[in-house]
């Protein structure tokens, strides 16, 4: 599955240590630079929009050239970004499997991108929410539980009212998603912080049995406890009338979601917001 791939690639490629200058792979042109600049204005971007962005950059700088296959285009850029310890990482939304992209840090710990936008106590609030989310069974932490921790925050004292607004700021900036008064991690946060989360909470962290990436929301086997992302469930059990747990072979008791189909979605013209709210949360 896609999430594993970027990680695997990162691990197997040894960086070549030539000082400065472009790496042996990958050459940057203005097409790539404009793409990067504009990509950076988004915390996270869905694949369809990424393609649109790519086409735009070609149109501005190189109308005659054939638009390179997105995967190759991104790999090319990533080979240049390697020496800067950042990469364009591909993931998927946990609820419906939409492919998403974000520019993430490979070297420094998680919070640095947030660090410039938020105060010390706000960052600590995020950390507290993060811990509750990771510890939870469903991948969601209730507003109440988060707000109850407001007294323990580092830095300037924060009232609950204020904290509510800060949580909304996190939602607006795509670090958290809110559903019915509960909060979970946005795909942006998962992409940017997966490494950090796995290092910091090795015992509490949940992993998907299929793609082996970090799991916040998903389905679990009631017998043996293994977990899978909803989109991973969808792919794994696709057209399988008798889904069984890949680990213990017991019947899989949950509703199997549909595999995300970008074509179908655009035709239907369904608003994304509606679709998301139709998905029930399962665990």
């Amino acid at each position: 599955m896609e999430e594993g791939r970027a990680e695997r690639r990162r691990r197997t490629e040894a960086p070549s240590h030539t000082q400065g200058g472009p790496r042996r792979a990958g050459v940057m042109t203005d097409v790539h630079r404009r793409f990067l600049q504009l990509l950076m204005t988004h915390g996270v971007l869905e694949e369809w929009d990424v393609r649109r962005l790519q086409k735009h950059c070609y149109r501005v700088h190189d109308r005659t050239a054939a638009v390179e296959e997105l995967e190759d285009f991104i790999n090319n850029i990533n080979s240049v970004l390697e020496s800067l310890y950042i990469e364009i990482k591909k993931g998927a939304t946990e609820d419906d499997g939409r492919p998403v992209y974000a520019l993430v840090n490979l070297a420094t710990t998680s919070v640095s991108k947030m660090a410039s936008d938020f105060a010390e106590n706000e960052l600590d609030l995020f950390r507290k929410a993060l811990e509750l989310i990771i510890d939870s069974e469903t991948g969601f932490a209730s507003s109440t539980n988060i707000l109850n921790l407001v007294d323990q925050l580092k830095g300037k004292k924060m009232r609950k009212k204020e904290a509510e607004q800060v949580l909304q700021k996190f939602v607006q900036n795509k670090w958290l998603i809110e559903k019915e008064g509960e909060f979970t991690l946005h795909s942006r946060a998962i992409l940017e912080m997966e490494q950090y989360i796995r290092e910091t909470y090795p015992d509490a962290v949940k992993i998907c049995n299929i793609c082996h990436s970090l799991l916040i929301q998903g389905q679990s086997c009631e017998t043996c406890g293994i977990r899978m992302h909803l989109p991973c469930v969808a792919k794994y059990f696709q057209s399988n009338s008798e889904p069984r747990c890949p680990h213990c072979n017991d019947y899989w008791p949950h509703e199997i979601p549909e595999v995300f189909d970008p074509e179908k979605e655009r035709e239907a013209g369904t608003s994304r917001a509606t679709k998301r709210s139709l998905r029930s949360r399962q665990h």
Binding site: R10, R11, A14, P15, H17, Q19, G20, P22, M28, D30, R33, R34, L36, Q37, L38, M40, T41, H42, G43, L45, D49, R52, H56, R59, V60, V80, L81, S83, L84, Y85, I86, L106, A107, T108, T109, S110, V111, S112, K113, M114, A115, S116, D117, F118, A119, E120, L123, D124, R127, L130, E131, K154, G155, Q195, R198, E199, T200, Y201, P202, D203
Partner: protein
């Protein structure tokens, strides 16, 4: 499986990453680290600068990887800081990123500048000679359609800024604040009234744009009631030009830049001055 992504990136342990950027906040590892296992020290609150658990060698051989990582940090720092459009002070760079590597600061900065330009298309320039503050200039021309694919609003305030820069230039490079408001009133922008797009136009023009160094705002002595004069700031000169602004003004009036001969001449002279060979980039002045 878990640890591999780290091994390539971290010459020093996690403690080294615990530095505060931004508003001197961000303790990067959480206080309740659940047996994360990496280093211990300096986890409690922040004092900036040289807070290394295991000090990298003071001077002497640093590994290629360490240097690479340092340049990477510097690039990131500059990108993030420039997002706010506040010029970046050399002292901040030294404090928050360079630390023990102070002895090779000029080299690190040069390398970072090269990467910034090659990879992102941003040029690192000093705001004014010997100012020891830097900004990033975009080497790519912004294009109207960029707005459709951006993630942020770009800056809706750019329109207002262009108008003010245009006003200043057309009026002979300096203008009184009262004149600015006389003009803007006609566009429905008032100093005292909240604006749908610009919010607080007075604050925007006299504070925000000034802080970002697009404008200079000076009190005119012996005026009663007090009046101020506005001129182009150093960033305006770096990011745009008299000719570009004249073209903008001409476009707004649906005319040709040459219809303003005095300004056109001045803009031409400015273009020529710019075309002359410049001194090389962001070499820190010392």
């Amino acid at each position: 499986m878990l640890q591999k992504p780290r091994s390539r990136g971290r010459p020093n342990s996690q403690a080294e990453r615990e530095r505060d950027w931004g508003h001197g906040a961000a303790e990067e590892a959480p206080s309740t680290s659940r047996g994360a296992g990496s280093s211990q020290e300096a986890r409690s609150s922040s004092s900036q600068g040289s807070r290394r658990a295991e000090a990298s060698p003071e001077v002497g051989p640093r590994s290629q990887q360490q240097l690479e990582l340092k340049v990477a940090e510097l690039v990131q720092f500059l990108l993030i800081k420039d997002q706010k459009k506040i010029p970046i002070k050399r002292t901040d760079i030294l404090k928050h990123v360079i630390g023990d590597y102070k002895d090779i600061f000029p080299d690190l900065l040069k390398l970072a500048a090269e990467r910034l330009e090659y990879v992102f298309g941003y040029k690192l320039v000093e705001l004014e000679p010997k100012s020891n503050t830097y900004i990033l200039i975009n080497t790519l021309e912004p294009v109207e359609e960029d707005a459709e694919v951006r993630g942020d609003q770009g800056t809706p305030t750019t329109g207002l800024l262009m108008i003010v820069l245009g006003l200043i230039f057309m009026k002979g490079n300096t203008i009184k604040e009262t004149e600015v408001w006389d003009f803007l009133r006609r566009l429905g922008v008032y100093p005292t009234k909240k604006h749908l797009v610009f919010g607080d136009p007075k604050k925007l023009i006299t504070e925000e744009f000034v802080r970002q160094r697009y404008l200079e705002y000076r009190r005119i002595p012996h005026t009663d009631p007090v009046d101020y004069e506005l001129q182009w700031g150093p960033r305006a000169n770096l990011e745009t030009s008299k000719m570009k602004v004249l073209k903008f003004v001409a476009k707004v009036h649906n005319q040709d830049p040459k219809d303003w001969p005095a300004q056109y001449c001045e803009a031409l002279a400015d273009e020529e001055a710019r075309a002359r060979p410049e001194t090389s980039g962001p070499a820190p002045s010392s």
